[in-house]
Subunit: 235 residues, 4 copies
Amino acid sequence: MALSSLSRFLVSRNFGRSADVKVSLWLGSKCGISTSGPDLATDARSTSFKRFADYTIFKGKAAMALSPILPTFREVNSQSSKLCKRGCVMMTFWPAIGTKKYDWNRKQVFALSPTEAGNLISLGPEESCEFFHDPSKNSSLEGQVNKSLKLSPTGNDQGYFLNLMVTNKIKGTNERFSVPVTKAEFAVIRTILTYILPHILGWSQSAISQLPQTASNLHKQGFGTRPDPALEWEM
Amino acid sequence: MALSSLSRFLVSRNFGRSADVKVSLWLGSKCGISTSGPDLATDARSTSFKRFADYTIFKGKAAMALSPILPTFREVNSQSSKLCKRGCVMMTFWPAIGTKKYDWNRKQVFALSPTEAGNLISLGPEESCEFFHDPSKNSSLEGQVNKSLKLSPTGNDQGYFLNLMVTNKIKGTNERFSVPVTKAEFAVIRTILTYILPHILGWSQSAISQLPQTASNLHKQGFGTRPDPALEWEM
Amino acid sequence: MALSSLSRFLVSRNFGRSADVKVSLWLGSKCGISTSGPDLATDARSTSFKRFADYTIFKGKAAMALSPILPTFREVNSQSSKLCKRGCVMMTFWPAIGTKKYDWNRKQVFALSPTEAGNLISLGPEESCEFFHDPSKNSSLEGQVNKSLKLSPTGNDQGYFLNLMVTNKIKGTNERFSVPVTKAEFAVIRTILTYILPHILGWSQSAISQLPQTASNLHKQGFGTRPDPALEWEM
Amino acid sequence: MALSSLSRFLVSRNFGRSADVKVSLWLGSKCGISTSGPDLATDARSTSFKRFADYTIFKGKAAMALSPILPTFREVNSQSSKLCKRGCVMMTFWPAIGTKKYDWNRKQVFALSPTEAGNLISLGPEESCEFFHDPSKNSSLEGQVNKSLKLSPTGNDQGYFLNLMVTNKIKGTNERFSVPVTKAEFAVIRTILTYILPHILGWSQSAISQLPQTASNLHKQGFGTRPDPALEWEM
């Protein structure tokens, strides 16, 4: 009885509102829900309470936002899962249509891969870099839309120009966005890219899931009293 | 019955004391509480157990403390929330009134924005920077109180002078605080600003809330045996 | 009754599938399970839901993956555990057998120790380093298999050549893998090594386990109103 | 009944063994325990399951270990607590008494403060630093025991000599420990000090405890569709 009550409690949660992400995570368990009624969730993701955050820079000609997209894991068996789609850092650009006004409907996006994020992290003050993306790569539309993102120094270690160009041969359009990024703003970008890299690669989730490793059956005499020079792996 | 008992257990918690932040987070669920009685919390924040921390530097003329203020999220719907107010790093200054004595009632604060924090993180050893704030910006009192925070190098890569000036035209006052920060203290400041930036921008909360992403319905043959060169996004 | 139901709920979980790592962690408690029936877990690790992640670089002659191996803790008594085996960062190499095709069965591994990871983190753009491992060290097979990993700069601050050589005297084989790593890819490697170091040393788990420290019985008058210059240790 | 069973479950846990730190954290709640029987814990800390970790360097004349000591919080009221004792990074030295053998009973400790940790983090390759501690400061034994820790470069950007000297006027002893630290080992030390600084200052615990901030009553029209240039604080 306690079990079914608890389960009903879990299911009923789906219709309520909660500010607490921990509860949502706990409710992500399909096992708890499925034993007491229909599973309302079609996907593990739909039961989780998501929080969206970004870092947005508002400039004269355009605004640019960075936001994290975490990876997706796929179950290998009932005991483990493996990363099946890497995350990225999504850059979104909007053109300005007046002072501090932007056209929110004319956005263009550019998904920074982990290695491209690494490129920005290690970019020297006088260095440039350029990335080319084709969102239709490996499909029949390959080559129809081309995106290029270029960073070039503004000079005197004062930051970078961030330029996105999107050429759409189907629509016959060619959009350009230019956002000057100050040294301070780029320090924020570098800091959050450094922070998010282990997350979009799945390393942070891997680190958490391996957490409860205690070899409880391997007690040996004298253990715990001193460091041991022979603790390291060699492989 | 188990459910209502559990709920009473949860509600009764509000009158007790707990050293355990995890329990508090769990109790943050309005759903669990509201099904068994009146919701005592008027705001999600009031049910959480907060811990306050700072990094304070005590010097001859003044003391200066840094402490983190996290962002606020707002629900978009029952499934997700979005950052509605960025966090900041609050700097508080108190004047000295004797050896190791400070006037705790005459404090002045300066809220470092994420980009200003980025400025400090990337400040070169011989560089200066200055920020201007008006706490009444966009109100009828705009321009009445002006604050400026200036960092200038003490020379020889030995740290910075941190100077806050607060001019209050209404009160006719002009307060100045000066705190010399050593290179070691500035390394601590740089380290905790780097640490807290993803938190005050909401990226850390976003990363946690997206955690349980497992595409459990997408099993494919041979998955899990090897890395796949085609895992990355291109967008 | 509620207790036994809850316990059955916990045990039954072992036969289901869950996408939620938090639930798995909670279920890691042997106490909860053992009071209601046989303990199905032979080891604390077998009850946890693991997520595997890596960072893989695919190049012309070989592919190379990095993945974290977390440390193992051993119980000292019912209140505490101590790290008994350090983690590492596992490097895996596979030879190419065609364009974007690799022989997944002919892999070789090299387990980076924390200090070797520190070596890569601090490697200057024009510096080299080399590590030698003997997986049979301190056994009767010592010296039969020798592994060397060498990093040497490609020149002009453009990255490093990563070379693994494995000599197996028993099999009479000598395998070589060479992977050029760009500056951007090495920035990713440096970032994730920096991230994972506290985890493979067990510091992150130590930090979490010490979390609920509140000296609730030590209230003193006036506490909480101001910073205290005498808060620091001197030992 | 469910409540008392659950509580008994919680109390009984204290006699069992658990490999799961999450359960321990949950059990840290005094509220849950005290409503159903005597509180076996005399201090919040004694109910938590601790994991101990270090980073140890074994050299010819001595071994040196670093391990984190987290801060203590004190309750201000039932809703919040405040840091009352900063954490530190404990350095422990043991003299060598043979090849890879150390006298584990003749250890000396030196507790690095946050600012001293910042000093090591920012130490240039050709810089030195020295810290002086008196463990009996502000007591009647002040000046009887003096400790000094000195770091000096070994030359050619190859690392540092770490020298601890402990003079005990009461015992009439003068102990010296010298540990050469390679550049790679110092990169590990720098990395874990950078990692642990926000923890020993209490910022990480503060960040977690503020987590569930959702302004659920402040819905406004159009929210969630776009970034807002007016989200930042000015204070």
